[in-house]
Symmetry: C2
């Protein structure tokens, strides 16, 4: 694994054992698709990161340095995934954030995922707790997703859909969910109480006939087409959800073509 670790402005050799990311998950991350040496959605990823850092009060590394290091890590990579973690940095024992704090940040390069076809999905029993203070953010407190993902692996499925404790359907463990509205549009759950506001989801809300609306389980099952999406894999049409099966959808193929035209890595 190609890894670069920084503390503030300085490249360092290792993770500090007192890092607050390790102690408390006190950090944020971005998982970005690399295509032909660059990251097509870099600005959107850094915008979301900045929003999360503002909400949590985490200092971000210098933007110019961050972009230089990201560009350097991606150079010569035709197709890959670049993960960025930014933590609040090193702190003493105890929850109180250190002041001043120097962020720790880490770039790691990974192989691009294999294409996924005939995606099969199950319902996860692990729910998403409602926490408006953290909702939407791609923070590093991810035990719910880890537990849900264990269920997906045990079921032999590709992904799993998660509910909020209230019963609303929110997302997959590592992707957002859209369902066809029966006309020309798409629906995705609002994420003001839990869930991660994905970069691909955000692109679709701005560039496709898609809007937020609360979804329950019957709405998902009734829909004529459903898909998952994230910034690494793009749009993943769901073929099966337990006993429910969906045929190919012309609407969905059209949306995939639209996305591929805007982001050539996601085709």
């Amino acid at each position: 694994m190609d890894v670069r670790i920084f503390h503030g402005q300085n490249r360092v050799a290792q993770i500090d054992p007192g890092d607050r990311g390790l102690a408390y998950g006190d950090g944020l991350f971005e998982t970005m698709r690399v295509h032909r040496g660059g990251i097509p959605w870099l600005d959107a990823h850094l915008r979301r990161l900045r929003h999360g850092a503002d909400r949590l009060g985490i200092l971000l590394p210098d933007d110019t340095l961050l972009r230089v290091e990201i560009a350097s890590a991606c150079a010569n990579q035709d197709s890959a995934v670049l993960k960025l973690i930014v933590t609040r940095g090193t702190g003493g024992r105890g929850y109180a954030p250190p002041d001043p704090a120097q962020p720790m940040w880490l770039l790691s390069l990974h192989a691009a995922p294999l294409p996924m076809q005939d995606v099969s999905v199950v319902w996860c029993g692990t729910t998403l707790a409602e926490q408006p203070a953290l909702a939407g953010l791609k923070h590093c407190n991810r035990l719910e997703q880890v537990l849900a993902r264990r269920e997906v692996v045990a079921a032999g499925a590709d992904e799993g859909l998660m509910h909020a404790a209230t019963g609303h359907v929110i997302s997959a463990t590592a992707a957002n969910l859209f369902i066809h509205d029966g006309g020309d549009g798409w629906l995705t759950p609002p994420l003001d109480r839990c869930g991660v506001a994905g970069v691909c989801r955000d692109w679709l809300l701005h560039h496709a006939p898609a809007r937020e609306t609360p979804l329950d389980r019957p709405a998902v099952l009734r829909s004529s087409a459903i898909f998952l999406c994230n910034a690494v894999r793009g749009i993943l049409p769901v073929r099966r959800l337990d006993a429910r099966e969906w045929p190919e959808s012309a609407h969905l193929r059209a949306l995939q073509r639209q996305l591929a035209a805007a982001h050539p890595g996601l085709n």
Copy 2:
């Protein structure tokens, strides 16, 4: 900081940048009071750790090796704090737990905290999300406590009380809460939906006239005495909660004496 890092059975020089504790807070921790070269409540800490590891499916290090290393880290320490973190270990990108996994564990020694008197407490606006799958565990997803602790620091208080989203009072940011029941006993909130089941709380529930019952804000304010507790500081009588003040309590002093007799480090 005196730190020892292990991967499975082996002592290693540094944290793996792919550690799942850093990526997802996918781990557990224990914060233990060291007294005269030993940890009086070691068995209780390791019991709680084992319970958490069972619930999360995290492999624990070998018990004998763990105890040997803990004893070695504490030797010659008259009064200190020993923190243990155990994570699921190193994993690839993605939430699915690696299988097989080797736990990463880390022991760090810290100075004992200064005694705290006339403890002042505020109400935190940050709530605790309800998640039965994680409730009670001392896991490493602690962003709620970090955000709440920022409020405590901003208010210039010593600690802060947190509610569940439902309005029930649960605990302080890093301590459990007990209130006097008006007779000979003490009440503390149940922790089946959120909160951390502290080792000192557990001792009190088994050795003092104390029981679990849901508490709301008026019950706390009406009580004739309230205290916080944890395994590092023992019992901390609360003197002030916003405008509410409490005088010294004979009941509370008696309970402190009982605890000090059982655990001489906590007096």
